[in-house]
Symmetry: D4
Subunit: 256 residues, 8 copies
């Protein structure tokens, strides 16, 4: 820290640059929307819909589009999404997409250019119930520029499907493995591949532990090597995978 301040004192560093450097962020903060999140932490800011009024969601989506050229909003209802669509400025409207199962809305300014990453993230699910959080993960991975490879309908109850997909799983750079009920799938997969596995527990059961607790505990206790996110936290799993993809992209293009 002292180095930076001395550089400022010496006139070697501008105040703005020092400020950014010190707190680790760029400076284009607009109202309550943290537009600089991507610059600082590598993950684009998203609007988390739960507990916000439709009014607030529309406003934040608009701000996001105008300041960063992109809007990502999660946990939206179809009604929220329609409201956003109606109020969006015409030039953004064409780009808007909404996936009802995952509740993710995305929109881009006409001149927005997503940086494509030279890296692939595999997303494995066992069935319908995993679709929402897996879709959240896929959306953010995709917005961060990595290629998404979905491997669906793979479950431990019918383990042959898993073996049929082993080569696909080994071919990606990082795996997100969603699993509800007892959550055994990431454990089994991590024992068979040498790709980093991020386990994503899903709240899809009933009775004791059916709210994702059994799956989460099973992943934390896994006898194979994996890291975990919270129950249904597809966005977090995708963001972490996206950060790894960014690193790999950089590594692959270092000498270029």
């Amino acid at each position: 820290m002292r180095d930076i301040l001395e550089a400022v004192a010496a006139g070697d560093l501008s105040v703005a640059a020092a400020e950014a450097e010190l707190a680790g962020y760029a400076t284009d903060d607009v109202g309550r929307f943290d537009a600089a999140r991507e610059t600082r932490s590598g993950v684009p800011e998203a609007v988390y819909g739960t507990g916000k009024t439709t009014e607030e969601i529309c406003g934040l989506v608009a701000t996001s589009l105008e300041t960063t050229g992109r809007a990502i909003a999660t946990r939206l209802s179809m009604a929220d999404a329609n409201a956003v669509r109606e109020r969006l400025r015409p030039e953004f409207e064409g780009s808007l997409s909404f996936d009802e199962r995952s509740g993710v809305l995305r929109a881009h300014a006409p001149d927005f250019e997503r940086r494509d990453l030279d890296a692939t993230v595999g997303i494995v699910t066992a069935g319908t119930a995993d679709g929402g959080p897996a879709g959240e993960a896929a959306a953010i991975v995709s917005e961060m520029g990595a290629t998404v490879k979905r491997i669906d309908d793979v479950g431990v109850a019918g383990i042959h499907r898993l073996f049929d997909n082993l080569a696909n799983m080994r071919a990606v750079d990082v795996l997100i493995v969603a699993a509800g009920r007892e959550g055994a799938l990431p454990t089994v997969i991590a024992g068979l591949v040498d790709v980093p596995v991020i386990a994503l527990p899903i709240a899809s059961g009933y009775g004791r532990g059916g709210d994702g607790e059994a799956a989460l505990l099973g992943m934390l206790q896994s006898c194979t090597m994996l890291t975990t996110v919270n129950v249904d936290a597809g966005f977090v799993a995708g963001a972490q995978a996206g950060l790894i993809a960014r690193r790999l992209h950089a590594a692959r293009n270092e000498s270029a």
Copy 2:
């Protein structure tokens, strides 16, 4: 109930027989030891060592031997077992065996004849940590007369060992599958065989859920079909398997 009482009133049923019938038990109760447990519920009475003094254990083992011709005691330390050995009447001493890992002591009277059942129970473990409860299960299955088939060192982290043993697992009448940590093993096995699976969760991890909670929850939430016992409850798993074996034995010998 009225039928029984009317039979007694009519002199068609002896008082003793009525008594046994009504409460569902034979009548040779000796002090605190429930010698008739096997007759009534199909499972031999065992002395549960935890929380008992060495004195009490020795006394109950002796009573058991004298009234039923057999003694089974669980959760004993080596010191307990040695004390029992020293105090046993000479004619029983030769038959005494003690397994330190599972803490199970067994002894039989010279004229005790165990009924052999025409049925086999498979007991699957993943490693050393499962040995104690699996040993408890094996002991009671064996005392109930069924054949025990151990399939050790099978874990989901190295799933090839599991596939190597599929034929063995399919060849038994009922499977007890012990698993600690995330407890995925019974789930995977129950998806591959059509044998009834009793899941036995083991307290072998650390951190959250490491006391068997993760394994237990995973088994209760399993996406395949299995029943569960409490954490480390090898005796219960074995007794239930033994009861199924008894039924199968009877079925196999019905026409004989």
Copy 3:
């Protein structure tokens, strides 16, 4: 595993047969519906309704009927059931039955033949509140071919009814005992009969533990010998009982 591969290499085993053998399954997989589940694990595949759209349920029921000649769907609302009925092909419609309390729908193709098992499963309940999960259990036991014997309105608060039914309970091959509130019923029964008891905890109380936790813990801690399934998991209890019934049927017909 090596044996199988060598047989393939030697031409002694067809590729398809090896594939089935290796992963332990038959090969008639249709879309997302695991049609081979019964062949592999002994339990017919069922459609779990919770969290699925009516559209998805109708589709899976149709697929199931067409590929296996039978459809079982659980946790359906009356509206779901009606939707299925409306869309079913005429030849299947007559066979469709729906039990509102348990939420189980069943349908069969005209030429479906259920294999009847020479084995009986007793299902014990204490009252109305146990009816849903007990009905789930009865449905799957029945679909697996075993005879179901219901013993209803037996509770520990009026223990005389239990004694009146002891002979009935001893006459079956395996007992499923449902119990809510404190869940004492399976413990009391397992102390009086030598039939294997599968305890089924029900979420029927209020206050602390009323969500089935008290019943589940009581069954896991039972001082008598029994295995347990998750809260309200009637399907799992029934499937396990069905697997035991299959074994008994085979045993009874081995010499035939």
Copy 4:
């Protein structure tokens, strides 16, 4: 409250009497020992040994004896009890008794007269593991003057012993029923007798719920009518039973 103060103002009530009336206690407070507890709340003060040094225990026992003519101390080790015995004034020593299983020490001044109550408390246990808390309950019931009737070795696993003791259980004024593991015993008994049942959960199992949680939850959820105390809280169960006994004694002697 105003009445009392006006009586004081009018000189109709002495200051000391008013004070006692207002706060509901007699006035012979000695240091940290609440000698007046029995007068105020009907239960004699006891020294709770856990977490106190031997020095502190000895001091409080002496104070209790000197101010109330009686000392009750709970959760003491044999070493604590021996230390108390050594330091006691000679005239008290003869009266000292210590029960190692329950950890209760009692002593009385030569001129102490316990009021005998015309009421009986039944204390039911299933086995050795319940002995400590049941002994605590018996000690305080006895010190409060009621007759204790022990009914031991009654458990739901061998329910015939329970039926053999029904008449005994119906003959007492209030029942304390101790139970560990799944804690079903008080539920079964309360369905068969019309005596008030106080359930006393015991920490005697292993695995999940084995620390008394399963028993406590089962008692709170009981489908029969009973009240509960905390795990191993024999003293509390006994004190409550003693208070009921006091009421009954008064009722029986009202007209006398």
Copy 5:
């Protein structure tokens, strides 16, 4: 038990009497309604409304009235109560009462005579939130024949109201003290009176422990002497108080 059977064999005891004696119950069982519950356990049977259809509730209320001359139903909605009223036979209708806050419905046959008990139960509450379970308690106490004395709006936040009511609290035979939030009220009261206190925890808070857990734990850990029932279990608290009242009534009338 042998005694009874021998008496039957000898013709000294009728079959019916033996049956009642053995299982501890009278014999007028009607369908699913346990009409003999009051005879056996001292507490009248009540219809627990939660989870039952209106149809079922109406049927059970009618059966109860016809077999015992009385109906008590708990946890009913206003709609349930209205449905019962509409379907009741005219001669019962006039006696029907329903308390919306507690959800308790009561009705009696014209010739029903409640036995009045010479005993009083005090029911203490802190405010509106405690009214439902306290009303349940009051209803069953009253149906069991004891006098109910309500002491409302007493809370630890304004402890002066408590002191104003001390004399009232000391004048009853047994106290039920309802308390939500932190549940301190029964603890404070039990330190000031020598009446047996039954603590009734209420689910009236928010945040952690607001579902009655804080109140329940506080009552189980109370540093004064009291017994506890489950969260919101007013019926259980009232039934236990009623059983104590029955004993006191008998004691007061023993010599009469």
Copy 6:
């Protein structure tokens, strides 16, 4: 932040001053010991003994004394304290004090001057069991310069002692109220005084909630107004009270 940087750029602010201002701390950091904690956050740094070797504790105490003129260490055993005493430089030795019950060691340099605050903190306990954490609180309050007023042996079981001390409690500036078991004491006190109450839950019970959970939940759910710290966190309660005392001291001396 920009203001500060611009001041540095303009030469109006030294680099060191800016650094302190930016991160909010003074700069005399010595090794791992955060000597500037008091300047920054108002609370002196203390050495937390649990999990540290005697060697590490001695080193940190020495560093603390040398850099700040004072050492406070908590959760030390008598052996730890003796080791510190032996290794301390002679000039510090005389000032060292150790309180075994609370495990707090304190030492000061000969020239250390504690600032006395014109404010008083009341610390209320119910008995022996609260002494450790209350002593921790007293030690840090005292080191922060406020006057400590202890009010011991006040409990809800004997509420008269509480009333005897009301005037004392109202005379202090802030109250720390320690309570174990059900933790009702702070709730009762906060309803009677207008002094800010910090509740300090103590782990002094047994059975469910006896590890401080019942007390903590009760304080969080309190129907009176208070804030809470973690179980046994006397240091935190004392530090917060000390910060309030600092503010009051400043307020009382503002015009001076």
Copy 7:
């Protein structure tokens, strides 16, 4: 206590004054509304809306206005607030305000004079989700007479905003810091300022710990010094801050 009674006996103290002194409260109790709460404990009584009917809320608001000249009601819906507005006597209507986000309604009699305190409370939030409880806190602080300083949109994910506000945070007398999700904000702030911090955990996450449990635990475990209130308990946090403000006001005006 004796002093007061002796003063009454001597005629030196009126009965009414003694009564107030003894129980620590003024005497203008009106029905169920504790009008004297402010006099006794320093915090104005508020009507807690949850679980009350609109009728009850309206009545209590009216009583409060008439007896204390002020009404505060929390956790009201817009419908509740409108009902209150309609029924209020015309002279109160103009003063009524309702904040929908926090659910707090306030109204004052025309002649109500709030005492202004010479003290400032800072309330820090991270975003929209914290607004409700923070608004509750602000309302009560304001009603108690202290100045509220809101510092919104400060979160650890964008820590630069926090540093921009450090000077503001250091300028207030006491800080309430609301935080949901992982609840790290109060910990970070308390490490940077020497102002007392009251942490207010918010239920704003999803998955495990999202109901405020993660935030609450994090605050209880904070490595910096702070006290905590229950999840979403903004009123409690505000009342405690208000009590500290009262003390500071008194201190600042002591010599005046």
Copy 8:
């Protein structure tokens, strides 16, 4: 799967190769030690010491050294480590190292060559308490060939140290951030850097949540993007970081 089998049938693939391919593992399995773990899943097999006898540990270490040229053993006591050292064959002894704080033992065969990875893993800790699990993480990262960069003594209580190290943290490829108590550190760091953060919760507190639960929940609920492992699971965090490092190494050397 069919492809592989057809290749075998056609003679295009050897049986051994097919076997490895199918189950995803190499074939040099030795007894109970899974020597092929590194080949299959990228992480070297380690001996987990907890619950194993010294005898077993020594045997597994020897097997590991002989089959893979390397041994890693975790959670060993100093006594275990000494025993291993004594029994090791002389040629291995020189290479043995043991770190007492983390309990990790490592040894290598003279000809063992670790592959160095062109990637760096940062490991951040706050203090002494984090040292054990952080050391476990460092050991496995190092054995997997990546460079370890330790950044110690960084905590949120003294946040300036964190800012001093921001550049260091941004310079590594992946960060493991250990934190006990409230576990806020990884949340704060992940908001400031664009490096993937693996959070490692530590059991270093006391009171509620002090066993790592508060830290774990805080990490799962983090408002910044990170993945988590179980409490104290340093090995898992290190292995995941090592897998990412392997990918980066490969990416950096792809064109080479």
